[in-house]
């Protein structure tokens, strides 16, 4: 049904292998976007993005109107997804360790939803509307390829993959990127019920995180915080882009792999 709604035509006379047409630099990485107006991608109802995340780089949390599949091309890291209504099952107790901390130093309590290790070859599925983030805790670059299925039934907006950032300031990143390069997108055609490629690109350039669209007072009320902190989560003067450098190591709760192995062995024995 969704495909019928969006697609009025799929007139493809020949196919071409495509490379990303737009590169956007961030403080700790690079994002490359394929031309979403290319006929073959529009026909398939997909959008492609490749993120190259430097060591200690954090891809800021975002959600989208389309479900995503992430493939880890290279490197390793951590992936977190904030699934609505799910409990924060990763909880620090006195004996828990924070990943990234030297030794077994105890830290103050935190709790959050499950964090998963990812490595080369992994595929991660992210439902529409679920916020996710990625951190590179490896020794090399972490490269992830993301496909947005915009023709999926879960998407009730139009055929454009829309990225809603919970933090950061993509606008500043795109305007101020040091080596920003924008290529023209030949062969792109607009449709009557959607934005033209130029409009679409303009709207991408005017991005910021969703909290920046609210009044500070409203945010302060909602979070029960002071106005200053409300302003800070709007990230209006943030120049770092969507992949930011983590100052120290990112400390998140994660089970020790040895512990997991022990548990697995124990289960085997029980079985």
């Amino acid at each position: 049904q969704q495909q019928q709604r969006f697609q009025t035509e799929c007139r493809i006379n020949n196919l071409n292998a495509q490379e990303p047409g737009r590169r956007v630099e961030s403080e700790a990485g690079l994002s490359e976007y394929w031309n979403r107006n290319d006929e073959q991608f529009r026909c398939a109802g997909v959008d492609l993005v490749r993120h190259t995340i430097q060591r200690r780089g954090l891809l800021l949390p975002s959600f989208s109107n389309a479900p995503r599949l992430v493939y880890v091309v290279q490197g390793r890291g951590l992936h977190g997804a904030a699934i609505p209504g799910c409990p924060e099952t990763f909880q620090s107790e006195s004996s828990s360790q924070f990943r990234g901390e030297q030794g077994s130093q105890r830290l103050s309590r935190d709790q959050h939803q499950k964090v998963r290790e990812i490595r080369e070859g992994d595929v991660v599925a992210i439902p529409a509307g679920v916020a996710h983030w990625i951190y590179n805790d490896g020794e090399s670059q972490l490269i992830v390829m993301i496909l947005y299925d915009t023709s999926n039934q879960a998407n009730q907006l139009d055929e454009n993959a829309r990225r809603f950032y919970l933090a950061g300031n993509p606008h500043q990143q795109q305007q101020g990127g040091r080596q920003r390069r924008r290529e023209s997108w030949p062969g792109s055609r607009s449709r009557s019920r959607s934005q033209s490629p130029e409009e679409r690109e303009r709207s991408q350039q005017s991005g910021s995180n969703i909290f920046s669209g609210f009044d500070e007072e409203f945010l302060a009320d909602s979070f029960n915080i002071d106005n200053e902190l409300a302003m800070r989560i709007q990230n209006r003067d943030d120049q770092r882009g969507i992949i930011v450098t983590v100052e120290d190591e990112l400390r998140v709760l994660s089970p020790q792999s040895r512990g997991e192995e022990r548990e697995e062995r124990g289960l085997d024995r029980d079985n």
Binding site: G80, A82, Q113, Q204, R232, R251
Partner: protein, 181 residues
């Protein structure tokens, strides 16, 4: 066998009755949801509804509709609403009052704050099992993220990250006196 299924399906369900509320906050208000779990015919038509009552100056947590659009019709009172789109663009900032309707597209974030007379609404949603994702409160995205992600994303310190995560202990409906923690 069609008459045993479709023809006898229940077609109505009352959502104005306060005793049927799914979410209730004695200082915030109440919300009653109607979906295909409590009215199965909605599975056929892929729609659902929500009836909300917000007490004076209370708030609905900032949230977005995960899998549906939402069309809000104001039954009584007034509220200030802000709706934000994909680029942090404020697409609505104003008061809506009795008799008016407002569409909130899928994934657009919204905050509602009731006016002095309170606010009552019905929202029609374009999915038979419409879901929301709260951005603040006990069952919110903020709580789901590790402190260090917040610290580095917003360039704040650990104490501020904790306030952001834990200062609101209510869910969905917030009282206005900033004592939710």
């Amino acid at each position: 066998g069609v008459e045993e299924t479709f023809c006898t399906l229940r077609l109505k369900h009352n959502i104005a009755d306060a005793q049927r509320a799914d979410v209730y906050n004695e200082r915030g208000g109440r919300i009653t949801s109607l979906n295909s779990f409590n009215l199965p015919i909605l599975r056929y038509i892929q729609l659902s509804a929500e009836r909300g009552v917000l007490y004076r100056n209370a708030l609905v947590a900032p949230h977005y509709n995960l899998n549906s659009h939402s069309v809000i019709y104001v039954i009584r009172g007034n509220a200030r609403l802000q709706v934000v789109g994909e680029n942090g663009q404020n697409v609505f900032d104003g008061e809506i009052r009795e008799g008016q309707a407002l569409t909130v597209p899928q994934n657009f974030a919204v905050i509602k704050k009731a006016g002095n007379q309170g606010f009552e609404w019905v929202a029609f949603k374009t999915n038979d099992n419409a879901k929301i994702n709260a951005l603040a409160g006990r069952l919110s995205t903020m709580r789901a993220l590790p402190e260090d992600v917040l610290i580095n994303a917003y360039r704040i310190d650990r104490e501020e990250a904790r306030r952001l995560k834990y200062n609101r202990d209510e869910t969905t409906l917030f009282s206005s006196d900033s004592s939710g923690s």
